[in-house]
């Protein structure tokens, strides 16, 4: 079972704007039944203001294809065609709270249908737009221009990602070399050295959804038991002159994990300030070790330890 977000389920079980739109003056049709998904986007655009007043869809495809289509219509109604042109597949996926990586091609189909519909409205021949784009994947009819767009918008870097987003190369695999060429060309153009943008959201792989939290600073190398003991001994040695000035003394008795047992002697024994002295020892040891420890009087040492 796919891990669909609640938003995807909502748009699948109760799609918005499904059906035919008779007064449509902008229609985009992409996909095919062979591919396993197809989308017909119908828009009613105000010829003067260029505002998309209504939009409907008909989709053949899986749950995420239907949800992507429904989301697309919701996103574009009320926008002008030029504003709508700025909508990318990534925006559709984000609107849905993310799609599984294998299903990102559904959002791409939505974005492509939108471009096709706008081209139809402007009286452009949609296929002309792509004459220069070489047909890369013959199985799914994907050309270089579409792969380039998907790579650019979604910051794709691998062949596998291109397949997830566009389906290209998902069948006979003979076009894998061509896809890699397109991918390399785009990466070279965008500057491979530029830091990669975070991936478009996907519900699979949490790191693909959120930018990674800043990594905690590298933890200090763990001390060996001997190193740790030496640090404790040195720290106590450093404290002794101060305590001796008050006529007392401190000695290390035992170390038991986080519990460090010390004995206060001389003027300290029975001194009303000895608790404060113990606190001081503890603070010093915590600072020296970089970890939390408890300093306890040797009298609390477990019997038989």
């Amino acid at each position: 079972m796919w891990n669909y977000t609640d938003k995807v389920k909502e748009h699948f079980f109760n799609p918005k704007n499904a059906g035919a739109l008779d007064e449509a003056n902008a229609v985009g049709e992409v996909g095919s039944i062979t591919c396993g998904d197809a989308l017909k986007l119908m828009m009613k655009v105000n010829p003067d203001s260029k505002v998309i007043e209504d939009a409907k869809f008909q989709t053949f495809g899986c749950g995420s294809a239907i949800a992507s289509s429904s989301a697309l219509t919701e996103m574009i109604i009320g926008k002008t065609v030029d504003e709508a042109l700025a909508v990318t597949n990534r925006d559709i996926a984000e609107y849905l709270g993310g799609l599984p990586p294998e299903k990102m091609h559904c959002s791409v189909m939505g974005a492509e249908a939108l471009r096709a519909a706008i081209a139809d409205f402007k009286g452009e021949e949609w296929v002309d737009d792509h004459e220069e784009g070489e047909l890369v994947c013959k199985c799914f009819g994907i050309d270089a221009a579409m792969i380039e767009r998907a790579v650019t918008v979604n910051s794709l870097t691998t062949l596998e990602e291109v397949t997830h987003y566009t389906k290209a190369g998902g069948s006979c695999q003979t076009c894998h070399e061509k896809i890699e060429e397109v991918l390399e060309a785009v990466l070279a153009k965008t500057g491979a050295l530029a830091p990669p943008k975070p991936h478009a959201p996907g519900t699979v792989g949490l790191d693909a959804i959120k930018p990674l939290a800043p990594k905690a600073e590298a933890a200090p190398a763990k001390l060996t038991n001997v190193q740790r003991m030496q640090k404790i001994m040195v720290a106590i040695e450093e404290l002794r002159p101060q305590i001796q000035r008050d006529g007392g003394d401190v000695e290390l008795v035992d170390i038991d994990g986080k519990d460090i047992y010390v004995r206060l002697t001389g003027a300290c024994s029975g001194c009303s300030q000895s608790a404060g002295t113990m606190m001081g020892v503890q603070a010093k040891l915590v600072e020296a070790l970089g970890e939390f420890v408890r300093v306890k009087p040797a009298s609390l040492l477990p019997v038989g330890a």
Binding site: F12, A18, C35, C62, W126, H130
Partner: protein
């Protein structure tokens, strides 16, 4: 069955896996607690378990109609049995370099054959099927020859339930000097078998398809057949499958085999009738759909209907919302981009292959459940068709020829 049971969901995906029968579970439980011994041990703890394993072996022998209980080797399941069978024969007959199989096998056979072809230099003959899923017998006979080490053909197809003429195929293989193996994971427990008088040399079965747990299966190896183990180690299973026995699983499989034999008639009468009722009702209520595979020769529990112009994953999601579990040959459900290899092999047009939906029943299926499915399916199909650009309001497919950008 009560309404309460319907609320738990209607499970019609028994070709994927079945529920462990409560009687099977009851037989298994002591093996986790009191009877935990290792059957290889000399003490009483071990001996008690050893006795149960031999009892289980006899139950599986009876279900298969095998001549000897020692012909049953317990494994971890269908995939291990298939791999063991094919690799054993290739090792036992090192001079023969060809394998014959079919295009509609389970990946446990197909992927192994692809690997052997690519990496080990074997020649693999994959026999095609017609549009009803029947094996091309002429091509099969033509592929058999002195170089063929093993033939591996499934008894019944998991997607369509179509049954292959196993005895005939096995005899042809025998005449050509090849070992005959069959992946009978879907057939065991649903079709009566008498391997004692059969030309079948090896047979794979899986526990979780017949109400035993997952992780247990068996390989039938006819007495006298050369055998090379895949797992080496201890002397378990007469050194044919090393590793301490999965005693609870084996006892569970034994109990499940006993129950399957008892319910064989029910499976072929009541369950078959329910399947037929479901299928006829769907065909009558839903336009533009058809049964895939060979309706005249198939498993009694399986029904695969291809709904045109809609996509299988969407069907399954809506069925699931209605509490019905089924399965699909659609590309989208598996994460691959192509519809199932079985649908493509039968030449089912893409307009329908994406919408192929499998309902697989079991002896636990009730008439009330089937009635509920019959009531729900037409609405689901109509809803998705209303969304489909290939389906016009008039209720028939319409012209729609999009370009892919």
């Amino acid at each position: 069955m009560t309404a309460n049971n319907l609320q738990k969901g209607i499970y019609l995906d028994n070709n994927a896996t079945t529920r462990v029968d409560p009687e099977v579970l009851a037989e298994m439980l002591p093996l986790f607690t009191e009877q935990f011994g290792n059957p290889s041990s000399m003490h009483g703890f071990g001996a008690a378990v050893g006795g149960k394993i031999e009892w289980a072996r006899k139950q599986v022998q009876a279900l298969l109609g095998a001549a000897h209980d020692s012909e049953i080797v317990f494994t971890s399941g269908g995939t291990e049995s298939d791999n063991t069978a094919i690799l054993s024969v290739l090792e036992a007959y090192p001079k023969k370099k060809s394998i014959v199989t079919s295009v509609v096998e389970h990946p446990a056979v197909l992927a192994l054959c692809d690997y052997l072809e690519k990496k080990r230099g074997y020649t693999v003959h994959r026999i095609g099927v017609d549009n009803r899923g029947n094996l091309d017998l002429d091509a099969y006979e033509a592929a058999l020859g002195p170089d063929v080490a093993i033939v591996s053909i499934m008894w019944a197809n998991n997607e369509t339930g179509t049954i292959f003429p196993i005895e005939e195929l096995a005899q042809l293989a025998k005449a050509a000097g090849a070992v005959f193996h069959t992946d009978a994971v879907q057939a065991v427990g649903k079709i009566p078998m008498t391997l004692a008088t059969s030309a079948v040399d090896m047979l794979s079965l899986s526990g979780h398809k017949l109400h035993a747990p997952k992780g247990i299966g068996a390989l039938y190896v006819k007495r006298g057949l050369r055998f090379r183990p895949m797992l080496r180690g201890g002397h378990q299973e007469r050194s044919r499958r090393a590793g301490t026995e999965n005693a609870p699983g084996i006892v569970g499989l034994g109990a499940a085999a006993q129950l399957a034999l008892m319910h064989m008639t029910d499976e072929n009468t009541r369950v078959r009738a329910l399947r037929d009722k479901l299928e006829q009702a769907i065909l009558a209520a839903v336009p533009n759909c058809f049964v895939t595979g060979n309706p005249a020769n198939r498993l009694p529990n399986t029904c695969n209907v291809a709904f045109e112009y809609i996509e299988g994953e969407a069907i399954l999601l809506l069925l699931n919302e209605a509490g019905i579990a089924a399965s699909s040959g659609s590309a989208c459900t598996s994460g691959s981009l192509e519809p199932s290899h079985v649908m493509r092999a039968m030449g089912v047009p893409y307009t329908a292959a994406h919408g192929a939906t499998r309902f697989s029943l079991s002896r636990e299926t009730t008439e009330e459940e089937i009635d509920r499915v019959i009531a729900v399916v037409p609405g689901i199909i109509a809803k998705l068709r209303s969304l489909s650009p290939y389906w016009s309001q008039a209720g028939a497919p319409k012209e729609f020829a999009p370009v892919y950008s």
